[in-house]
Amino acid sequence: MKRIKSLKCRECGSEYPLEPIHVCEYCFGPLEVEYDYDVLSELVTPEKVAQGPPSLWRYYDMLPIDSPIEECVDLGAGFTPLTKAERLGERLGLNRLYIKNDTLNPTWSFKDRVVSVAVTKAKEFGFDVAACASTGNLANSLAAHAAKAGMRCFVFVPSNIELNKVVGSLIYSPQLIAVEGDFDEVNRLCIEVASNYRWAFVNINIRPYYSEGSKTIAFEVLEQLGWRAPDHIIVPVASGSLLIKVWKGIKECHRIGLIDSIPTKVHAAQASGCAPVVNAFKSGATTVRPVKPQTIAKSIAIGNPADGIYALRALRESGGTAEDVTDDEIVEAIKLLAETEGIWAETAGGVTVAVLKKLVEQGVIKKDELTVALITGAGIKTVEAVADSLCQPIRIKPKLKAFEEALRCLTT
């Protein structure tokens, strides 16, 4: 029996063969990978998972990949630490707070999960070229994984962005295409290129497979908690894909018997300068009105999120909520996480922690509830967000007396 059945339209339910396609021909709804959960129930056990590699590929059976596990494109993404956050918990008033630390992925963000799956699938489909439009985490991750896979890689960016934004990609020698236009124009061009060239655009024609990689962050949280689901999980929202896949991952584990129950409320975290999903949730809407992003949390600043309405559904189905936070709150939260737990998160992580703080203050999350915050990228990627708000070094002469003088000032 095959564990992966088909691609299925999220809206009208039309089924398609497992090909590099992403939109339903009838209703233009997005396509989703369908599994045979009876087969998965037989195949996946806690013991088998525990014997797997210390990477996201330990959940191979629950990913849409046919190649043997040895052929998967693997830089070691996933199986990142789930750290009990005692000191941050104390500051926020939580006794059972955990941080899922995805800053420790090969290119320092959770994108390595989705890209690892996407590039593996692209190779399986026989593509020679992997491509994406991104200036950030996705481009870094794709360039690295394409290098490992020996594929040509094209990264599209607007021509006016600063060079240092793309160094983290250029080091892996992709073809960098600087497009004379803004983000929207680059976006439209990439969608056109994707339909004219037989290339694997990881988040366009490979998207149904790519996004499945996000489930592994949920699988890991459940496994690391001893195969139980937390009471709360806080997820930063950009396109909404991560949030819906976290929810899908939790439900899949329940369906195949890896966990007994789902007490989990999934909460969405956005920056106030780009909060279309939070706005829609708070107003009770079923559709998401696009906004023009204006926030320091650039990695999650998507004004017209493709999976926004599905994220809303997942929030409501799980009984979760949605909150947004200002840029100042984001910076404060980045610093709070760093000084209490030793984890330097990028701005998206600041959004998660600031929203967590807010939800505790609102009484949504109670003191003894098991809570997990997803920290999806490392702070080194957004140095400029915090650089100006950090304390300055103390300058002294190279004399013990001068040091002691400085020390006195510090302790008084």
Partner: protein
């Protein structure tokens, strides 16, 4: 003849206007709504447009001029 797929977003003030009707009337394009959700506060329409490339471009430009949000069906893929 080309066929393109778009996700249109309507602000509240455009909900009462027969915008897609005029698209077919003012330009030589065939429109086909595949999915939509519109209420008194605005909404969206997933639309297929068939016609010559240039005519489609003119039709799309007229939508943008009116204040309709026009995105590819995939929407924003830059992350």
């Amino acid at each position: 003849m080309a066929v393109h797929r778009y996700h249109l977003t309507f602000p509240k003030e455009l909900v009462t206007e027969p915008i897609i009707y005029y698209l077919g009337k003012n330009f030589n394009v065939i429109t086909n709504i595949r999915r939509a959700n519109v209420d008194q506060d605005g909404g969206w329409v997933d639309l297929e447009i068939e016609g010559d490339e240039e005519e489609i471009e003119r039709a799309i430009e007229s939508l943008r001029q009116k204040g309709v949000g026009v995105d590819p069906i995939e929407r924003q893929v830059i992350e």
